[in-house]
């Protein structure tokens, strides 16, 4: 083993993990596009089913967009650990000498970049569909920008716990949806506050605090859950 090796630190290992996650998304685009399509289609059903009354639509818009975003995130979680569990890559991830905490963070962040971020970027368009006034677009996007990564991290805990089961979809929803309620309440609250001309900095700060909490604690829970799942 005299060959010189270019040794890497933790950061480079994280970048490699992130790169792999993005490559996987490019190679199997269905995993990324389907939740996004669900988000668009489910929201566009509301004006069709609920009538074209703009006052009514704009009053339900914050809740509808946030609930649908939450469900779309849960749908997208299914692909997070599934293929790695089936082909054994997960075992190698757990046996890697690099810190598991950061590897999981890189993986979830990569997953958010391809599933969560498009939701954030598309949301004003869907707001338009629900007759949401223009002054609420920015609060909606900011709220989703802080909220979707939190939902991803919470969903990843549930996914890590259920990845060993063959049909985990409904169980995942039962486990994870109750935990996502605070994010939903404050996220929709931000948009409602903007609609009523109330200050929203406090609500955004709470969403930020929840993200910070999830960033620091969720990877530990995900790691522990993955160890149980491969056992």
């Amino acid at each position: 083993m005299s060959r010189s090796r270019f040794s890497l630190g933790v950061t480079a290992c994280l970048l490699a993990g992130l790169q792999r996650e993005l490559l996987l998304a490019v190679r199997s685009p269905g995993n990324t596009i389907n939740p996004l399509m669900f988000f668009v289609i489910a929201i566009s059903l509301f004006p069709l089913g609920g009538g074209a009354d703009t006052v009514f639509l704009s009053s339900i818009a914050p809740g509808v967009i946030w609930v649908t975003a939450l469900l779309a995130v849960m749908l997208s979680m299914e692909s997070l650990f599934r293929s790695d569990f089936e082909d054994g890559s997960l075992e190698q991830l757990l046996l890697s000498p690099q810190p598991l905490y950061f590897q999981i963070l890189a993986k979830v962040f990569g997953h958010w970049l391809v599933t969560g971020l498009p939701l954030v970027l598309l949301s004003p368009l869907l707001g338009l569909l629900l007759a949401l006034p223009a002054q609420a677009y920015l609060p909606l996007m900011l709220g989703l920008l802080l909220g979707t990564p939190t939902l991803n991290l919470i969903g990843a805990i549930g996914m890590a716990l259920t990845v060993g089961l063959s049909r985990s979809g409904l169980l995942l929803a039962v486990l994870v949806l109750p935990l996502s309620i605070p994010v939903l309440v404050f996220g929709a609250g931000v948009v409602n506050a903007a609609l009523n001309g109330l200050p929203m900095a406090g609500l955004l700060a709470v969403l930020g605090a929840m993200l910070a909490l999830a960033l620091s604690l969720a990877p530990l829970a995900i790691g522990a859950a993955l160890r149980i799942s491969v056992n």
């Binding site: 083993m1 060959r3 090796r5 270019f6 040794s7 890497l8 630190g9 480079a12 290992c13 970048l15 490699a16 993990g17 790169q19 792999r20 490559l23 996987l24 190679r27 199997s28 293929s83 790695d84 089936e86 082909d87 054994g88 890559s89 075992e91 190698q92 991830l93 757990l94 046996l95 890697s96 000498p97 690099q98 810190p99 590897q103 160890r227 491969v230 056992n231």
Partner: protein, 209 residues
């Protein structure tokens, strides 16, 4: 180098092994034998730290493994039943990620390792377009990239052709000569130049029953 003391494992109310003790030092090979379902894979997964359903102590260089997981992981190469190869990615992408997980980046070494296993020219082909044996070889290319002193190999000869088997045996021999230690299971008659110690799980089960 690596030792297990008083291992006991029970699965579905059936004792797989009890009072299992062994030590492996540099330059040794241990073959775990036993009938199907006798707990070979369970034992290897316990040793690698993937399975926690056991009692007993496992230590690496004199220290308990569960206290120093990352140090142990740096010294371990584990090859499981599943190849740990993502089929939508190319061999190069798969192995790059593996290398990065182990803290290095060396594309030349990856290409060389693939060429050694007869996969020159396949670096950029998605793994799902390859045969089972070729996918297995991609997985085995990690052996050549690994600098870990301890190898734990679960059925490494599966799906390999005759030449592949001979190459892998040679690879194990070289590892052992360089001071590595190898624990493996196989149903194939090993033809190694180095001496092989055998742990037979069928006999151990008798002790416990």
């Amino acid at each position: 180098m690596f030792s297990a003391t008083n291992l006991f494992c029970e699965r579905d109310e059936r004792v797989l092994f009890t009072q299992l003790n062994f030590t492996i030092s540099a330059g040794e090979v241990i073959q775990v034998q036993g009938a199907n379902g006798s707990g070979k894979t369970s034992l290897l997964r316990i040793l690698a730290g993937l399975n926690a359903d056991f009692t007993g102590d496992i230590s690496w260089q004199g220290q308990a493994v569960n206290r120093r997981r990352e140090t142990f992981n740096a010294g371990l190469f584990y090859l499981g039943h599943s190849p740990a190869i993502n089929k939508t990615l190319t061999p190069l992408q798969n192995l790059r990620w593996y290398c990065a997980c182990h803290g290095f980046s060396d594309d030349t070494a990856i290409v060389l390792a693939l060429a050694d296993l007869g996969l020159a020219g396949y670096e950029h082909i998605p793994c799902h377009q390859m045969s089972a044996g070729q996918q297995r070889r991609v997985s085995l290319a990690r052996l050549q990239l690994s600098v870990a002193p301890l190898w734990i190999l679960d059925e490494p000869f599966t799906a390999l052709d005759k030449q592949g088997v001979a190459d892998l045996e040679q690879c194990i021999d070289t590892k052992v000569r360089q001071g590595g230690a190898v624990i493996l299971t196989t149903h194939h008659a090993l033809q190694l130049q180095c001496p092989v110690r055998v742990i037979n799980l069928d006999e151990l089960q008798g002790v416990g029953a």
